[in-house]
Symmetry: C2
Subunit: 373 residues, 2 copies
Amino acid sequence: MTRKSNGDGGGRSTIRDVAARAGVSASTVSRVLAGDYPVSTATRTRVMRAVRELDYVADARAKAIAGVGTPTLAFVLDDITGPSFAHMAHGVEREATRLGHLCLVCSTDGDTEHELEFIETMRAQRAAAVILVGGTADTAEYRARMSRIADSLASAGSRLVLCGRPPLDPGTPVTVIEYDNESGAYALCSHLLARGHRRILFLGGKPENTTAQGRERGYLAAHRARGEEPDPQLLLAGDFTRDSGHRRIRQALSQGLEFTAVMAATDMVAAGALTALHEAGLSVPDDVSLVGYDDIPFARDLHPPLTTVHVPYEELGRLAVRTALGRTPDAPNEHLLLGTHVVVRDSVAAVPGQLVPDASARVSSQAPAGGLT
Amino acid sequence: MTRKSNGDGGGRSTIRDVAARAGVSASTVSRVLAGDYPVSTATRTRVMRAVRELDYVADARAKAIAGVGTPTLAFVLDDITGPSFAHMAHGVEREATRLGHLCLVCSTDGDTEHELEFIETMRAQRAAAVILVGGTADTAEYRARMSRIADSLASAGSRLVLCGRPPLDPGTPVTVIEYDNESGAYALCSHLLARGHRRILFLGGKPENTTAQGRERGYLAAHRARGEEPDPQLLLAGDFTRDSGHRRIRQALSQGLEFTAVMAATDMVAAGALTALHEAGLSVPDDVSLVGYDDIPFARDLHPPLTTVHVPYEELGRLAVRTALGRTPDAPNEHLLLGTHVVVRDSVAAVPGQLVPDASARVSSQAPAGGLT
DNA sequence: ACACTCGTGGCAACCGGTTCCCAGACCGGA
DNA sequence: TCCGGTCTGGGAACCGGTTGCCACGAGTGT
């Protein structure tokens, strides 16, 4: 027993413990474990036995520092509990492990301070990439900070990835994988307008949230493309939770706000809204039409099945890591924009007394009937 | 430039680069950064400036190996996409970061081989604890393997935690945080039986899955407590997805299977089942009653709102890490069993012609009306 | 003016691995 | 028998940090 070795009972054993037990040097143990380098069968057997007896596993951190470690990848999201975030996370995780990377995860609950702190930690961990998932408040301060972080990560050989979040100023070393919030909302809202709806309640998100903004832009653009200007009273801010949808509909109803359709910024919001409508004795879509956004699996099980916009969340996550890890150091900055499409189900009807061109357009299961945006 | 230093442009800089630039030794830089140890203001300023100019961050892996690192915690689950898993994950992640731990995550998609591999990796990472989340196939082989892993982790100063998964043989160094699947299912099924249902279709999970088994045991026990023996034909295996629920109901209906109520092993399954019932023109709860399990947020937004069993998933996750990290080395093995309770909503009605004691029992929002099990 | 602190910072060992370089053993061939 | 090549395996430097120990210089009390 030399310095602090341990037989096999207590704490972790080092490569030197194994070496001592096998009667060889640490280098030899390392080589046996690595598998390259010729080692006699007898020695290899002795080493392997010692490894087994001590239940030895090389310290990954030490390996990493020596330059032969499992690379790590980090992703940051608001709240893993949201279905769309969860799907992105799933995509990220799947692709990362497929590519042999470990996954560090952190949820911020929208706390920017916490987000920054975590990114710094990831830089210290020498993560191969840091993936930021989901919308955010897009302020000038935010952009400045993100640019600094992007530079910082890039110069350390890492990479900042924005997934479902708008790009930074051109030239910033960042990989962006987005989907088109505005087009999806535009198509969705047009779908409502085409069925005669003129007073469409928009249940948005937090005003500064980029995802909410994109979807609201689509809502407005669809109106303006028809020469309409929506009543500002119909735009209700809130957040992307079921409860928020429920609450806002209850309030709108109690205030006597008039509308023939509801466009929720999220399927979650739509779910809460739907329940509130039901509770008020309103029928969907007979009394009021309802649409959501995200196409979470549950959208099909609402009653009626929800017309919504399909977003390839899992693909988004997968692409984020594939693109970030697969890039060559001096490649130009990637900016992917994935398409979305409307999935027509049964939650939209024409406004009574309105001309209805194709009221029978319905898709029951998979096939998207909406146009690709 | 001595060996491989870099001004500030390229790759990561080391503590020695900073030291050189500040004109001090590496030890001094380390001390300035650590904050303990007295250092003159002039020196500190120079060091800090060099740090800023080089955008230096100490390598966390090197710190870890030197004994002063951010501890890490790992958790493994089937699929982050499932709402109940997501909530557990959230609880784990929240509590871990609150306690200053990093979170490594891995989803296995039910692949035991992958699970084992990941646990081994985590041992190499010297994770403070490895948390296994969710049910599993409880075979003899599984127990043997887990026991070995538990010993292995324990002897390395780490800890195996089973969260929502049954305990191993007594004496195994493992922390178990469970909830009572059987009691919840028992109470839920009793709720149906009390309303006159005698032919209750049980949409279970995979036969070997412990969660599915626990819930099935509750189903059976509730029947037997009333002296009934359920028709074996009413027990349908499958998995915990929406689609599986949908498919099984369609099949059962097309086969002419008779039942007055459906007990789904999961809210997700219930959601699919509900849609299938609707598609068949059946009304819930007038024609057939339906209950789920998990009380995911969406359960309230189904139509009708789903009667289900509430499981404190997030709390489960939080407790898992708090218990594992807060333990003293030689403490006895913890085994917590959390309670569940039935949440009565509107998806259950009495069988026509049956005596109905309290058909008015309804809970609209939060307060659980069911008994604590 | 001298000795004794105290403040400050460098040297070197150490954490737990990997790998370059070289030495000794053993082999066969001349 | 001697020489050269091939196998093996060890020593030591290195990865990027931390920290115990010690030396040096300045300030201060007597």
